[in-house]
Each structure stands twice: as C-alpha cells, then as structure tokens.
C-alpha cells in the first residue's frame, strides 16, 4: 500500500467517523420524592365516619382527598397487601396489592384520591380499598398494582411516624363512639411496662408450619399491674414469624386493631418490641409452652423429673386452655409393694438481696391417699436421690376430694431468708405402698411465681 492510498484511506476513515454520530444514551434519574401539589379536603376521621354499618360497602363517589403518613407497611411480611396511614385525626388501613414498603415506606406522606374507592371493615376494622364482585359476592379488595397510581400519590419521605404512647384504658372504645369508630384503631400505639406471658416467651411469634394459619400466631402481653392480656397477632409469612419473642419487660409499639370486639396488636417487626428490662416476677412457670405428654414423663430443659421410689413420673396434661404437670399413681405397677416418691424440681433460681420475694402456685387435686409437698432447697445438686439434699417444707396438700378441685391458690410463702442464694423449688409426691390404685391421689400443680415483693 502506497502513501497516497493510505492518505486517501485515512481521509475516508475520518469522514466516516464524523458522519457516524454517536447515539449513546444517558438517562437522567427521575426526581427525588417530594410532596405533590395536592391538598387534602377531608380528614381520615371524617372519611371513616362515613362507614357506619359493619359489613357494608360504602363507595366514595365524591372527590374526597385525604393525606397521611405511612405508619406501617409490608416490609417484614406481617402485613400483606395493606398499609396504615394516619393524620392528626386518626388512622386507616389502606388495601393495595403488591409490595408496598418499597414505594410506601414508613414515614412517607401519601395523598389518596378516594373517588371510586370503597370503605368497608374487616370485623370492625375500617379499611379503604376497592370493591370487587366475584361470582356475585362483593368483597373489599386491594387496589390492583397498576391502578394504585390513579388513587395514591406519593409524597415526601421521612415524616414523623412515631408511635402514640397510650395506656391500656385508652384502647377502650370512648363513650359515645362505636367500636368501629374508635379513633385509635389502625394507629401506631406504644404501651409501656408490658411483657409476654411467660409461656408465650417460649413460643415463636407466628405459626411457621407448612400450613400457616391465616389468622397467624397469637401471643399475649400483660403488664405488671395486671393490665391485659392483649393479643399480639403475627402472620406466618412475617419474616420474624419463627423468632422467639423477647422475654423481658418494656415497651411495645404496634398497630392497634380489633376483631369484632377483641383487641389485637400487630407489630411491624421485632424492633417494635423493646422488652429488655426485668420481668414483673423473679420467676414464673405456667407450663403453657409445652406439649402434653400423655403417659410419657414430663421433660423440660433444666427441670428434674425423678422417681426416687416407684414408677410414677410427672407428665404434662391439659384442661381447657390450661397446660400443667400432672402426677397420679393410678397406673403404677408397683404400688402394692413400694412407696411412691416422685419429684419435680425447678432449675436453680437466684434470689437477689434487698427484696422480700414471695412464692405462690396453684394446684388441683383429686382422690384421697397421698400428699404433694412444696419444698425449697439451697443445696440440691442435681442428685437422682433428692432426699439426700436439705429441703424446707413450704406447704403440704393432702388430697381429699372425690372430684377434681379447682386450681386453688397456695402461698404466698416468704423467700426472704434465701436472699443472695440460689434456690430449687420442688413438688414431692408421696403415696404409701399398699394404697389401692383407685384411692391414689392425682395432683396438677401450675402457675409457679416468685414475686419481687
């Protein structure tokens, strides 16, 4: 190739490059979130007031516009196709299909153009959604994802979405209002000084079995002054459904809802539960967390279930919704010739100094021959022959009833002498050899508690 042709070629190449203009595409990012130029013309409270008959479908035909800040969304999966917004007058559940937390995170202001939407209620909890008739049956549906922008316009981020501090009494329907119109319903509230029932602390928040209960898991909170219990409801699809709840005492933030007249709290995720303080009682065991065992022995981590003499173990039984240890020598194979001595011994419990703790428990019993003693020890070391330790007797129940007694309360028994020590609480069951089977006593001790004062 000679110089001339090389020259010509480069001229061509340059002109070629010039005409071939680049068409590289640069995309400008859409603008950041900001409040739109929309003004609300009614309040959430006023909107909710339009829905007066439970179960009715009230289609909104006027140009009502509400605005509110998202206080709960579906990030953890505990809410599904639903978010809650509130303004100064109240809060409401807004039913929208799809994933919501992405575009409607907590703290985002939204404007809802309600015309064409529908107000109804789920067992008294008012919801704003869209009416759908399928096979002649009307339901309140979540607004289909592609239609949401026609009704819901997003605004600024980071608005105040902090919970409202309330006490138990505030949750009640104010006089002159209906359950449905209770202004706190749907709002994010905070209760202080609460804890989960002791049995519930050993469960998980939700039902995580393959067949997730649509109602979700129910666990309960109460306060030390006896308020509650209130149901804390969790969906099996929540990402924290399998988690065990925090066992201490403290504050809980939740959306306050209702099912007919039953109060229910729904947390957004576990950071709403700040139960890191000390519980109301030094020690509690209600045995609610354990499955019944039939004739098999009770086996709870930390507890001892010992047949020092004979063949009668404590089992776990239930009656109604109550779960408890149970012991009876009725099925013993050796009762005719052997004294029955069986123990149920708690894990070690440290008693702090400077307080005057008191021990209470309940027990039901039936039949006539045998005793159940409540004992306390400071030197029991886990031996299979507990009698070798030193036990102080707090109470003896002599069975003497042809029918089951109620769960009778026992105590309080002062544990102040054990301040600064680790104690073991025991139930000792004794039936003498030769007692007729049908006379052998049955005991069902339950609800062991050590109060702080």
């Amino acid at each position: 190739m000679n110089i001339k042709s090389l020259f010509r070629l480069s001229i061509l190449a340059i002109s070629f490059a010039t005409i071939s203009t680049s068409c590289k595409k640069n995309y400008q990012a859409p603008p950041e979130a900001a409040d739109p130029n929309i003004t609300a013309n009614t309040t959430i409270k006023a909107l909710k007031a339009r829905h007066t008959v439970s179960g009715a479908f009230d289609i909104i035909n006027d140009d009502a516009i509400i605005t509110g800040v998202v206080i709960a969304s579906d990030k953890s999966g505990n809410f599904y196709k639903e978010m809650y917004i509130r303004d100064a007058t109240g809060a409401i559940a807004v039913e929208l299909a799809g994933t919501l937390y992405t575009n409607y995170p907590v703290g985002k202001r939204v404007f809802i153009k309600c015309k064409g939407l529908c107000l109804s209620d789920y067992h008294n909890l008012i919801q704003l959604g869209i009416k759908s008739v399928s096979n002649g049956i009307p339901t309140l549906e979540s607004v289909p994802t592609p239609l949401i922008p026609n009704y819901v316009v997003g605004g600024s981020l980071g608005n105040d979405a902090s919970p409202k501090s309330v006490i138990a009494a505030d949750l009640n329907t104010p006089s002159g209002s209906t359950t449905m119109q209770n202004p706190l319903l749907g709002d994010l509230i905070k209760l202080d000084g609460y804890e989960f029932l002791i049995g519930d602390t050993k469960r998980s928040y939700g039902d995580t079995s393959a067949y997730k209960s649509t109602l979700g898991g129910q666990i309960n909170i109460k306060s030390c002054d006896g308020s509650g219990p209130f149901i804390v409801m969790t969906s099996g699809y929540a990402d924290f459904a399998a988690k065990a709840p925090e066992a201490g005492n403290g504050s809980i933030a939740a959306i306050y809802t209702v099912y007919n007249s039953t109060k229910q709290l729904i947390i957004r995720d576990t950071t709403d539960v700040k139960f890191s303080g000390a519980r109301c009682f030094l020690f509690e065991e209600d045995f609610q967390a354990y499955p019944t065992t039939g004739t098999a022995p009770l086996a709870i981590t930390g507890w001892k279930n010992i047949q020092e003499s004979g063949d009668v173990p404590f089992t776990i039984a239930s009656f109604g919704s109550s779960v408890f240890p149970k012991i009876s020598a009725f099925s013993s194979a050796v009762l005719a010739t052997t004294n029955i001595t069986s123990w149920l011994i708690s894990p070690g419990i440290s008693i702090p100094t400077g307080i005057s703790p008191k021990y209470t428990y309940t027990c039901a019993n039936r039949y006539t021959s045998g005793t159940l003693k409540a004992l306390v020890s400071i030197d029991y070391a886990g031996s299979a022959t507990p009698s070798t330790a030193t036990w102080t007797e707090l109470n003896t129940i002599q069975a003497n009833s042809s029918a089951f007694t109620a769960f009778l309360p026992y105590g309080p028994y002062d544990l102040t002498p054990y301040a600064g020590k680790k104690i073991y609480l025991a139930f000792k069951y004794e039936v003498a050899a030769g007692t007729s089977k049908s006379a052998a006593a049955t005991y069902e001790p339950d609800d062991m508690k050590i109060s702080k004062n």
């Binding site: 190739m1 061509l12 990012a29 859409p30 992405t102 575009n103 759908s132 008739v133 592609p146 239609l147």
Partner: protein
C-alpha cells in the same frame, strides 16, 4: 393429505421440466459431465447486484445468536434455487432448513470452524456488518461433501475472507432502513496483491438506530476488519485477519395475546419512559474480536494443505431487571392484566390503563427508582439506600482457540482425497453483573427464593458462602459465577471417486469431546457440589456418510446420500442447573442421528431444478428447561431425556428463464418434523437437592415447533441489460406450531380431567399458528459514472438498491411461539403462551460508490 398432493404437483412440475429440457436442442449443454454441484460465491460476484440482493443481510436482524441460523446469510445462498429461496424469502418465519436445530449447520472462516462449542451455534453477530469482506463463500448442502470439513448434516459454509480474495477497490456505502437499525455507513478498501506478494483489506461499518422498527428498540453497532496476506514464493500464502463487531441493541420482547390485543401488535414490553426518553431494559451487547492466522501451502500440483489457527475472546451479555422483595417489574406479570380480575369495574379500569397508559403497559422506571431511594438501610456494615431493583447483565466471557489443518489431494484421474484434523478449546465464564443500581447505593447478593426455605438459616440464601452477605455495586458479579471448559479434537478423511457416469464418496470422522463445569461460587444451598471443578464429561463420537451422483448427462443428475453419526450432548443439556451446582442428568448419552437424502438436479441454461427428499432420525436427545414454577415457588429445572424425532420431507427449487431477461423462481419445502418417543423428565428445584418428581412426557407425535413445516415461494425477476433489475416474490407458510411444554404432556397435567373434555384438549392439544403469506420485492440499479466523475481515474460505479419485505403489511405474523413453561394445572390459562410479531412493511434502501 392436501400437502402431499401439493408436493406431488411440484414433483410432476419437476419431471415435466425435465421432459421439456430433453426435447430442446443441446446447444447450451454444459460441456463437462464431471462438474460437482458445489456453488460458490465467486459465481455470484460475476453477476450483477441482483444476486447479492440487499446488502443488509438477515444476520443483522439477530445479534442474539441462533435465532436465524437456518438463514445463515443471504450471501450463503449461492445459486441453488432452493437454498436461495430459503435464505432470501423464508427468514421472516424463522424457517429452518429441514427443521434442523441450529447446531446442525456450521460456518468456517479462513479454514477454521467459527461454531460455538457450548451450543453448536454459529455466532453470526461476531461479524455482523462486515458483509463486504465476507462474500466469498463455499457451501455444502445437506449430506454432500465439501473440501474443508466433514460437514454438518444441515449444511456447512466456508467463508474466504483473505485479503487477496477481496476485489481491488474502495467501496463506500450508506443504507437507510426501518428494521432494527436506521442508518448504516460502511467503507471497505482492498489493495489486491502487490508484486511483492502483499495484500491488504480493511473494512468498517457503523449501524445505529435511536429507535428501530418496534417501539423502544435501539441499535448501536460498530464493525471493523483488517486483513493482510503475504505470498512467499509460489507455494506459501500466509494470511492474517482480525475483526470485531461491538454491538449493543435494545430488544423487542415477547408478550401474551391479551397484551397484544390491548396495545397492538407492535407492543414491546421491554421499554419504559424515563424522564422523557424511552429506556429499554433488555440490551444485548456483544464484543468478541476474532483473529485468524492461515497458512495455505501448495505442496504440489495435486495437493494443497491449509492450516489455520484462530483466537477469539470477549464477552456478550443481555441485560434485564432483577429485584429483591419487591413487585415484579414486568408489565406482563399476570396479576397486572385485566384477565386476572373477575370484577367488571376493575377489569374495565385496567383495560383502559392498558390501552392508554405507558406507565402501566411499559416498564415504570420512576417506580423502580422511587423504590430504591425510599429507605436507608445498614447492611453488613454499609449504610445507604439499598436497591430493590437493579439492572443487571448476564454475561458470558469467552476465550476460544481453534487449530485446524486440511489436506486436499488429487490421486490419479478419478480420486480426490481430503483429510483434516482439528483441535478446539473454549472457556466460558458465566455470571451476572450489576450495570445500574437505579438510584440506590448498593445491592445485597442474596437468593430471595432460598430465604423461604428456612428463615433462621443465614447460610442458605447465600450466593457465595466464600463471601457471604456481600454488598455489591455496579460492575460487581453476583448471583452465580461459573466456568464451562470445553475441548474437542477431531480427525476426518474423505474419498471422492469421479467417473464418467457416477461419482461416489465416503467420509468418516472421529472426534472426542470433553467438558466440565467449574463453580466460582460456593452456593449456600449446595455447599458440597457447587464450588470447584465438576467431574469431566467425556464423549467419543463418529460420523460417517457416503453417497453417489448419477450423471445422466451434463444437465440431469440423480443423487443419493446417507449418513450415520453420533453427537456429544451440549453442556447446557447435561447440567441441570449449571448456575448453582454440578448436578447432571442421570443418564448422559450421545445423540444418534441417521439421515438419508435422494434427489434430482437439473442444471440447464434456461432452467435449474433441484428436487430432494430426506428422512432423518434423531435418537437420545437431551434437553434442560428452566423456569419459575408456581407450586414450588421456585426456579425449576426439567431434565428431559430420550427425545427422539423424525424429520422428513421434500425440497423443490426451480429457476426458469422464461424470457431472456425474465426469470421465474419457485421453491417449496414440505416437511414433517415430529417427536417419536415418550420422553422422561426429572424435575429438580434450584433451591433443593432432591429430585421432586419423575414424569413420563407423552410427547410422541407432537410437532417440533419453532419453524414452519411448510414454506412455498414463487417469484419473478427481471434483469434489464441497462443495469437495473427488479424482482418480486410471494411466500406462503403453513403448518406452524408452538413448541410444546413437556409439562403439559404428563399424566399429572390432566389428572382428574375427563378424557376428551374441553379442558383436557386445552392442555394437551398443540397450538397451531395461523398460516401466513408475505410479498417481498427487490430493485437495484447500477450506474457507471462518466469519466469526468471518476475517482482516481478508475472506473467508478454508483449502485442503488431497495429491498422491501412484507409489502402487504401483514402485521399478524408470529415468527415463533412457545407454550409458556410456567404452567398451573389448576388454572391452566393463568400462564398463556408468549410470542411476538414480525415486522410489517420493512425496507432497506442503500447506495454505494465503488472505485
């Protein structure tokens, strides 16, 4: 039955033609009777522009490999009347010659195979836009012999792109089109061979469109080519060519019928508005330069040895949107469509939105940005806006080299001997890469589907246990990362014996193939078989073919060929889920192919006819299908084995000069491509090691989809002595079927349904697509400029051409369709099939200057 009659008609036409020829004087008879039927593009070049047709090759329509394989290029068509019709006219419906898969045809450039070892496809995109310098082609058709390779049963072509084979000239061209690009500029300069034995050739082209035929599609391609030859003495020619075609294109997507009905047949779900611009989520990108070094050694007057080495590297990728715990970004998600809803009011509202609102029927980019910027989170020590949506690219980085040597030798007067050996190596590194965080600051590399398995086990959702809970940003790989390493060695020999009346040949090839997967991530679900090298899979294969040509005279040829071969499976039909683990199909087999063809060729000056019948059996094919399954809520892999097929049919091509300048062309391809076995499917889930189910797929007698089983064309071509030409062609396609979803042909799919009921038929019957017809035209005019206009005092030509297709503006052509793999037995209409439509009227007009 009707079709058989039609084929018989063609046959009788063929024989009638023969009779006609016989009665004519033999003045024009070709002199030699030992001519073989290999057609070359050398011939084509001698013709005027009409033969080369549009310089826009069909290749350009598909950057993505494999889609228009059968029509490897208009330029391969040669002068075989059937092959040219198949190439020029049948492409619109993705016609595949004999219904063969793309891996059954091959392409060589300068003596080395260009086919991918991973899937057997020819990566035409690698040289897209370089038509000017890739025109010299040899093609072997069907089971015939070639001088450069054993050959694939679907045909093999060889491109000679060496510098000395390029015509000494400079060509500058421009084309304007409404297809996938709007403008194309190209320039080619070739020096011819100098006295010192040097030859050079350069070519470059630029193709682009801000918006192609379909809304939201775009094109941005550059191509470059450089070649140098050095002749050393009389017997050695050293050649080097390097070329590349870096290209980006925004793609058209497939959609369901409901969406097309609402939006129109031009609907493309892949794009959406972003601040006033149309942005396409699916961008295909490729940049894989190739270098080929060739040594052509003339050993003596009767022997020639061509050896070549090639090296290629680079990557290709396709982008899309990934999401994590967020709404499906596709407007086509079934819950977004009116049909999902029962309520009349909701249906009406959605229908209106779909008919009018681009924010609903296209990708809503603003919503994705909004979601990504909505919340600041701290994850694994990084605080920022955590993206819920990202644009990613799944890409393949390829390194490939080939060595090939071929000896052609003439022994005595009657024997031609050809032998060759080759070694090929290819390594593909596959992974996902983030290309846009869409307003967020980071993304987390977790498998959201695996999170459902056990919320308390933090290791299961990890894409890579060696680097858990990884915060990833633009440019980072994530999701999966694995290599496939493939090696293949082959040796072949062929003997052709030519006698006065009969030619015979026999060819034999032996090859060995091995491949393995190497995982670069230790997947949280499969910690024990995802990381590191998997067991090497090894296969030995043979291929044999033999045939004869009976030469009645210089015009009438009868031929018959048979072939029997085995083929190693491709890796993606062996590994059930190569993204995450090494698990393979339980039974890994070579595929067996037996094929026979017989035909008649008439090669007279005024009429050319080729009539061929073929019958091909495939045994033991394997396939792996992957999709999201509704019941398992997970990516599911179906490993299918024991796929047998029969492809049989006839091909007819006629080209008759009815007047000195007027030619009539006719072509017909009538085939029946059927599955002939019950197949076995094993189902595995990407997120579970166990086999979920084993099914028998009752696929027998279903049609092979993806190509029309019948295609016809008839055309008129007028060529004026005054250097212009015009041609018009009518094409008709029928017996087009959607590819079957094997899941719908299992006992489980029809469990509980009454045999013969509407539902039963709905699930089992194969979707047959409408027959289609198109009219295409082509016109060209070539002008020799007056001396005063000449450039460099050389003869200077100005050529114009216009190619227009689908002149009837038939907008209901479905080029291919498949039953959607995601299938809900309880609600079988929930996931209807997806497809797209072909172009309506489309054209390319070009002008070029040659000097």
């Amino acid at each position: 039955m009707k079709k058989t009659t039609l084929l018989l008609c063609f046959l009788s036409v063929g024989f009638y033609s023969i009779a006609q020829i016989k009665n004519k004087p033999k003045k024009d008879a070709t002199k030699k009777t030992d001519s073989t039927l290999v057609t070359t593009l050398e011939d084509l070049k001698e013709d005027n522009a009409a033969s080369t047709l549009s310089t826009v090759s069909l290749d350009d329509n598909d950057l993505g490999e494999g889609n228009t394989q059968s029509v490897s290029s208009v330029l391969t068509a040669g002068r075989d009347p059937f092959t040219s019709a198949a190439a020029y006219n049948f492409g619109v419906l993705r016609f595949r010659v004999r219904g063969y898969e793309s891996d059954l045809s091959g392409t060589y450039i300068n003596g080395v195979s260009m086919d991918n070892l991973d899937n057997g496809f020819t990566p035409f995109g690698l040289w897209g836009g370089l038509n000017d310098v890739l025109r010299n082609r040899d093609q072997s058709i069907g089971l015939r012999t070639s001088t450069f390779a054993f050959g694939d049963i679907g045909g093999t072509s060889s491109i000679d792109a060496r510098a000395n084979k390029q015509r000494k000239q400079t060509e500058v061209g421009y084309a304007f089109s409404n297809r996938n690009y709007t403008h194309r500029f190209e320039i080619t300069h070739s020096t011819g061979i100098s006295k010192k034995g040097w030859a050079f050739s350069f070519s470059a082209s630029r193709r682009y469109a801000n918006e192609g035929y379909f809304p939201g599609t775009s094109y941005d391609g550059w191509s470059w080519f450089a070649a140098a030859d050095k002749r050393i003495g009389q017997n050695h020619l050293l050649s080097l060519v390097v070329f590349g075609a870096p290209t980006k294109s925004g793609r058209q997507g497939t959609a369901v019928k409901e969406a097309f009905d609402l939006v129109g047949n031009d609907y493309n779900p892949n794009w959406g508005w972003q601040e006033g611009k149309k942005r396409n989520a699916t961008i295909n990108r490729t940049n894989q330069p190739v270098a080929i070094f060739t040594h052509d050694y003339r050993i003596n007057n009767s022997s020639n040895l061509i050896s070549a080495a090639s090296f290629s590297f680079g990557d290709r990728g396709s982008s899309n949107i990934d999401w994590y715990h967020a709404d499906n970004p596709s407007p086509l998600y079934y819950r977004y469509l009116p049909s999902y809803w029962d309520d009349a009011n909701i249906k009406a509202q959605l229908t209106k939105e779909w008919q009018t609102n681009d924010a609903v029927r296209q990708i809503n980019w603003a919503k994705l940005y909004d979601a990504n910027r909505g919340q600041t989170e701290t994850y694994n020590g990084v605080t920022g806006k955590r993206s819920r949506y990202i644009q990613y690219e799944y890409l393949t980085k390829t390194t490939k080299f080939n060595l090939n040597t071929t000896l052609n030798s003439r022994i005595g007067d009657h024997t031609e001997f050809t032998a060759g050996a080759s070694f090929q190596y290819q390594k593909n590194n596959n992974y996902k890469k983030i290309i846009d965080l869409l307003g967020g600051d980071y993304f987390v590399d977790l498998n959201q589907f695996a999170e459902r398995i056990n919320a308390n086990n933090q290791s299961i959702p990890q894409s890579n246990l060696n680097n858990p809970n990884r915060v990833v940003r633009v440019g980072d790989d994530y999701g999966y990362n694995y290599d496939i390493v493939i090696g293949k060695g082959a040796a072949w020999a062929q003997v052709v014996m030519k006698y006065n009346k009969v030619d015979y040949f026999a060819s034999l090839e032996f090859s060995g193939t091995s491949f393995y997967r190497k995982g670069n991530y230790k997947n949280g679900l499969f910690p024990n078989n995802s990381y590191g090298k998997a067991v090497r899979q090894e296969f030995t294969n043979y291929a044999f073919k033999t045939g004869f040509t009976y030469k009645l005279n210089g015009r009438n040829y009868f031929y018959g060929n048979i072939a029997s071969l085995t083929k190693a499976p491709f890796y993606d039909n062996v590994y059930l889920s190569p993204r995450v683990r090494n698990t393979t199909q339980e039974k890994i087999d070579n595929e067996e192919i037996r094929s026979v063809e017989a035909g008649y060729t008439l090669n007279a000056p005024k009429i050319k006819v080729r009539l061929t019948g073929y019958y091909t059996e495939f045994h033991n094919q394997m396939n792996v299908l992957t999709f999201f399954h509704d019941t398992y809520l997970n990516l599911v892999n179906y490993g299918i084995t024991g796929i047998n097929k029969v492809h049989s049919g006839g091909e007819l091509g006629v080209e008759a000069k009815v007047l000195p300048n007027l030619t009539v062309n006719g072509a017909a391809a009538v085939g029946r491509y059927n599955y002939t076995s019950t197949q076995n499917a094993i189902t595995t889930i990407d997120n579970d090691a166990s086999v979920v189910s084993r099914d028998v797929v009752y696929a027998k007698d279903y049609y092979v989809g993806g190509t029309p089983q019948e295609a016809y064309s008839i055309g008129l071509s007028y060529r004026s002595p005054k250097f212009w030409s015009v041609s018009i062609t009518y094409n008709y396609f029928d017996e087009i079927y959607a590819e079957i979803n094997p899941l719908r042909r299992t006992a489980a799919a029809v469990q509980g349904l009454t045999e013969g009921s509407a539902e039963w038929h709905h699930i089992l019957d194969q979707t047959k697509l409408q027959s289609q017809s198109t009219v295409d035209m082509y016109a060209s005019y070539s002008l020799k400029l007056p001396k005063s206009w000449s450039i460099n005092k050389k003869n200077t030509f100005l050529a114009f051409s216009l190619s227009a297709s689908n002149l009837l503006n038939n907008k209901s052509i479905i080029p291919f369709a498949f039953e959607q793999l995601r299938f809900d037995a309880a609600e079988f209409d929930k996931f209807p099939g997806k497809y797209n439509y072909a172009y309506g009227v489309n054209y390319s007009a070009s002008v070029s200057l040659r000097f």
